[in-house]
Each structure stands twice: as structure tokens, then as C-alpha cells.
Amino acid sequence: MSTYDRISTILVDRLGVAQDDISPEATFEELDLDSLDLVEFALGAEEEFGVRIGDEEAEGLRTVGDAVALLETKGVGAATA
């Protein structure tokens, strides 16, 4: 599963976003997610990818694509399992 797909799963399962609304260009604001949701998203991503995401990094995320890019800079690639 790609990093994007895994992020989508977090958004759907943990944050209640509708799958159809998710795209790389979709902003968190468009997905009706506020700053508290972004912290919750970061907790989900930390759990899913086994990385650490700082508060400032989480606050800087604007789009779903930004989240993919941030995680890939942390060495996250396609899951091997």
C-alpha cells in the first residue's frame, strides 16, 4: 500500500473523512479538519509509520500531499508487508 493510501486510511478510519473527498490536493481545511484534528492525524501517522512528527511539522501541513511529502522525507516508503 502506498504512503498516500495509508494516509487516506488514517483520515477515513480515525478522523471520519469521506473517502471520496480525499485527494493529494485536498486541504485539511476543505476536509473540515481543524488544528485539533491535525494533532490527532499526526498521532495516527506516528502509529502507522513508526516515526515521530513534531507539533510544528503537524501545524505546517496544508494538504494531504504535504503529509505524504513530510512522511517521505522521514524515510517512509511503500509498506513491505
Binding site: 478522523l15 471520519g16 469521506a18
Partner: protein, 409 residues
């Protein structure tokens, strides 16, 4: 004080109770007089594994995905009840003068389920994994905040906590805000959704709960000789209150009036009622006098009637002492169980419906009345009775008493 200054009109009702979602379903369930308690799988392993839950409450379907995820159930129940109440009152949040609309809700516990889930997360994964939504989902005042956000109610906004009297206290405070001119419309009532393993274990350890887990529907049996405690419930009830003159001016249907409110403290014990009932009696007398009535004017009482051995005997004795033995008494908790901070609100709503329809719901499971309960408890079937004035009693742990007097429109 003239009647016009004293009374406030009940122009809308909303109910979400174990007897059903909506006023019609809840009222029909209460009139049917069958206990709603059932074995509760979420309480598996707790010594008392039964409760009264709202049947078929699907938060995602009723409120959407976001609300179903970001709001604790005590807020979800209240949002559904409030929407019904506002519609019933014929009010339009899109166009009303929000600054003149207040919200006063009662709640005993707040987001108990959220608290327990996040505590488990912290123990499993550490404090840095706790949800940022913990606090906004947990704190009891948030129910009033969410009603304001949802409906654009910009006036006084608060939550009362007097344990099992919270919902009745809220209605009394709302009435006071209207009398004081602090708002023109107040959405008021109570909500509770604390059916979690920890809170039920706590109530069980107090000895407050019925142990009749082998036959849950018969477990809540107010005033019955074989009662052995209450059954915990979840529910929300919302009333729309307005000053009489305002309701009349806009042509609203007045379902009944809240004419009196009395509050008092037992100052006796943290959980046991004062055996002399002095505090409860003071609240009843205050409420009746506040309504400009004499004790004889009260012809019906919706009792606190929890189904605990101590409450029901003490309450029956006190009611008899205050308003005599010719009143009819019922406890709708036989059907709904004890919805704690919501109880006073849903019972005020049932009292409004009793006054409106001239129909007293029966006390479920009253097979053999406790010989020490020397009052006229309505059992088996609804009783037709003209009810110009009724009293709704609520008593909270901590010795906090709230009594409302409801009169016919």
C-alpha cells in the same frame, strides 16, 4: 408577582430516551409501562451488566460522520433532543435573535466514555498519544457550547451539576433567567451518557444499583416491595421555555407552563436521603409557593422514584406530608431507568405531557406496593386524570433537591 410575571411557557419538547427517539416514541413507551432495561454487552464483566440504552441511536446517521467522531455521546443525545424541541416550538435558528437565546443544560458526569477510552490509550501508549479532543469531548459544559454552535444561541450558556437533580435544576435556572429578563428563549434540560464500565462499577460498589440482572426488564421497580436499586440509563431531554407574553405574542402553542421551582440542600449525607425528608419537603413547599399555589392544588406528582429502598419510602412519606394522600404518583423510571443528570429533564417533559394530555403514565413493575409507601401510585395502565397542577421531584447525591411545578396551559 402576577401569573404573567411568574409563569413561563413550555413551547417545545425534545426527547431521546430508552423508551425511544423523539417525544412521540418516548411518551408511547412510558405509557406502555414496560421496563426497558437489558443486558448491556459493553458492561461485560461488571457485577451489574445491565442498563437502559436509547434504542437504535445511530449518531453517524443522525448527526453526520464528524459529529459522531468528535462529540461524546452525551452531547450527541442532546443535539438530537434540542433539534426536535426547537422544531416543535416553531422557532427558526437561522433567523432568530441569537443574543436573546440562552442554553441551560444539566449533566452529572460529562464524557465518561471518552475519559475511559483516552485513559486506556495513555496506559497503553503513553501520555503523548492522548487525543487532543479529550478535553473538549469530556467537559460537561461542552453540551451547552455545542448547542450554541449548532443553533446560534448567543445568550447565557451554562451547565448545571446537581447529580441526579441536574436536569431539573437546569430548568429552574432557565426559568429564573427568563424571569430576570436575561433571555427571551431558553433551551433547557439535561443529558447523560455515562454507561461505562468504570461508572457502573462505581454505582454498583455504592450499593445503589439493582442486582436483578437475571431479569433486566423487571429490575427498575419504583415503590415495589421487591425493589433493590436503580438501573442506570442514558437519555437527553430539552424544553423550550419562553415568557408567557412572548409565546402568546408570536402565536406559539403553549404545551404547559413551568410555574414553580424550589431548590434546597439536605446537608445530611453524601448519598443517603435525609430520613425525615426535611430538605426534599422544603424544596416541594418552596416550589408550590413559588407557583402561587397551595399544597392542595397539586393533584399529581412525577416522583424521583429511583427504585432504591431508601429513596422511595422517604419520598412517598414526604410527598404525603406536603401535599396529602389524594394525589396520584408515578415514577417513569420504572420504564426508563435512572438517567442521572438527564432524569429531571425527561421527567419534567413527561410531566408536561401528563398535564397536556390528562394522562398519567403507570409505574412499571409495581406488582406489590411496599407497605411503607402509603400513597396512590399509578400502576399497570395509564390513568385518565385532569391535571391542572403537578409536581416533578428530583433529588441528587450530595443532598441537592430540585422540584418543579408544572401547570396546564
Amino acid at each position: 408577582m402576577t401569573a404573567a410575571q411568574r409563569d413561563v411557557a413550555v413551547t417545545g419538547l425534545g426527547l431521546v430516551t430508552p423508551a425511544g427517539i423523539g417525544v412521540d416514541a418516548s411518551w408511547a413507551g412510558v405509557l406502555a409501562g414496560t421496563g426497558t432495561a437489558a443486558t448491556d454487552p459493553s458492561l461485560d464483566g461488571v457485577p451489574v451488566d445491565m442498563s437502559c440504552r436509547v434504542p437504535g441511536f445511530d449518531a453517524e446517521q443522525l448527526l453526520g460522520r464528524k459529529a459522531s467522531r468528535r462529540l461524546d455521546r452525551f452531547v450527541q443525545l442532546a443535539l438530537v433532543a434540542a433539534a426536535e424541541a426547537v422544531t416543535d416550538a416553531g422557532l427558526h435558528p437561522a433567523t432568530w435573535d441569537g443574543a436573546r437565546v440562552g442554553v441551560v443544560m444539566g449533566c452529572g458526569m460529562g464524557g465518561a466514555a471518552t475519559w475511559e477510552q483516552q485513559h486506556a490509550r495513555m496506559l497503553d501508549s503513553g501520555p503523548t498519544k492522548v487525543s487532543p479532543l479529550l478535553i473538549p469531548m469530556l467537559v460537561p459544559n461542552m453540551v451547552a457550547g455545542h448547542l450554541a454552535i449548532e443553533l446560534g444561541a448567543l445568550g447565557p450558556n451554562l451547565v448545571t451539576a446537581t447529580a441526579c437533580a441536574s436536569g431539573a435544576t437546569a430548568i429552574g435556572v432557565a426559568r429564573d433567567l427568563l424571569r430576570a429578563g436575561a433571555a427571551d428563549v431558553v433551551l433547557t434540560g439535561g443529558t447523560e451518557a455515562g454507561l461505562t464500565p468504570l461508572s457502573i462499577a462505581g454505582f454498583a460498589q455504592m450499593g445503589a444499583l439493582s442486582r436483578r440482572t437475571s431479569d433486566p426488564p423487571s429490575a427498575s421497580r419504583p415503590f415495589d416491595a421487591d425493589r433493590d436499586g436503580f438501573v442506570a440509563a442514558e437519555a437527553a431531554g430539552v424544553l423550550v421555555l419562553e415568557r408567557d407574553a412572548d409565546a402568546t405574542a408570536r402565536g406559539a402553542r403553549v404545551r404547559a407552563r413551568v410555574s414553580g421551582y424550589g431548590a434546597s440542600a439536605d446537608a445530611h449525607h453524601i448519598t443517603a436521603p435525609d430520613p425525615d425528608g426535611a430538605g426534599a419537603a422544603r424544596a416541594m413547599r418552596t416550589a408550590i409557593a413559588d407557583a402561587g399555589l397551595a399544597p392542595d392544588d397539586i393533584v399529581h406528582v412525577n416522583a424521583h422514584g429511583t427504585s432504591t429502598p431508601l429513596n422511595d419510602v422517604a419520598e412517598a412519606r414526604t410527598v404525603r406530608a406536603v401535599v396529602g394522600d389524594e394525589v396520584s404518583i408515578t415514577s417513569t423510571k420504572g420504564v426508563t431507568g435512572h438517567a442521572l443528570g438527564a432524569a429531571g429533564a425527561i421527567e419534567a417533559a413527561f410531566t408536561v405531557l401528563t398535564v397536556e394530555h390528562g394522562l398519567v403514565p403507570p409505574t412499571a413493575n409495581l406488582d406489590s406496593c411496599d407497605p411503607e409507601v402509603d400513597v396512590d401510585v399509578v400502576a399497570k395502565a395509564p390513568r385518565e386524570q385532569a391535571v391542572p397542577a403537578a409536581m416533578s421531584n428530583s433529588f441528587g447525591f450530595g443532598g441537592q433537591n430540585a422540584v418543579l411545578v408544572v401547570t396546564a396551559a
